[in-house]
Symmetry: C2
Subunit: 204 residues, 2 copies
């Protein structure tokens, strides 16, 4: 598909297709769907994104997306502010919150160190994490970064930074192993190998 | 995923997820992608859709999407205006144009008759087609509607309307049969059956 019957249509398709994972054919289908909606709905659709970009802020403490200077989690007196879970992004906070298993606070790095993609320690929220810990009142840092080479690199870098700053804080990382419900035969070798090496005592 | 850290974020995700085929997880990923873009880019993204809704028009002749009252195809003196190809939607015009095999003009119905979905003859551009033919100077109507029950119903309805209006015009429909490059064993029975019944002379 190349020749659009309208330049305005083509521009809308170009914008829609700029979203990651959206091809031109899908973009055309989505744009024609929007065109069939009432004008007020299209306005609401468009305004949602400009409003997001203009009004949303990042929490001064944990750098999660927020409507307020301090996010509801950092502002809550019912959360354990001595435990900080370090995550890559906003989705990770939502995923951990949905487990209902965590009552501490977060620190959203906004990425992981990746020399391949040109992301260095200064490009993500590492300094602000060290500052938070340096203020005191932090007992434990839980590293919950992705189990990738970049995640491991970032974990190690954070560990060294905290050590070098002479900050006495417990550093843990989320357990890695065979996922609940998974068959051993379908688990990759590295995960299975690590889950044997890092076995824990069975408490029957 | 349910608890969004920001109401504005949630509203943007709701809007993105209102697009057909976009789930909430994908919507969140797309919205966070937008949030990482410069403000000017997000503005351009949003404006493209409101501009489309406000400024795009439908060609007075063929009802295709257009930037002008008469679309470039209907306005072209190099097209054969005596041949009208009847299609369901804008994408169909683009698909046929891309074949480079058609030099007539179009009539975009904007749907097909579908009692199941409550789409009747008055809901699509049928009257305007009859009027176009009634004006004279039309030699042939090519029915290029989808090969579905709804498409067949619409074909038959159009045929009857043109007959009842006493309009002498050749009515043809696009060939249906085994797709080029397709193995017979993978072709569905109805298509294969029809392609035998409607066989054409082999011109070696």
């Amino acid at each position: 598909m190349s020749d659009y019957p309208s330049v305005i249509l083509e521009q809308a398709v170009n914008q829609m297709a700029s979203l990651p994972g959206v091809g031109r054919r899908t973009a055309l289908r989505l744009v024609l769907h929007l065109l069939r909606q009432p004008e007020a709905d299209v306005e609401a659709f468009s305004n949602a994104f400009t409003r997001l970009k203009k009004e949303v802020v990042y929490c001064r403490e944990c750098h999660n997306i927020s409507d307020t200077e301090i996010c509801p989690i950092c502002g809550s007196v019912r959360r354990d502010h001595a435990t900080i879970c370090v995550v890559e992004n906003v989705q990770d906070v939502m995923s951990i919150e949905n487990t209902g298993q965590y009552n501490g606070v977060y620190h959203v790095l906004g990425g992981v160190i990746s020399p391949m993609e040109g992301v260095g320690p200064k490009d993500i929220e590492i300094d602000s994490l060290i500052e938070r810990v340096a203020k005191g009142n932090v007992d434990e840092i839980i590293l919950a970064l992705p189990t990738t080479m970049e995640g491991d690199t970032t974990n190690f870098y954070l560990y060294r930074r905290l050590q070098n700053a002479g900050l006495e804080v417990k550093i843990s990382q989320i357990a890695r192993g065979v996922a609940v419900g998974n068959q051993l035969e379908y688990t990759d070798e590295i995960t299975l190998g690590r889950s044997i090496v890092n076995r824990i005592e069975f408490k029957g």
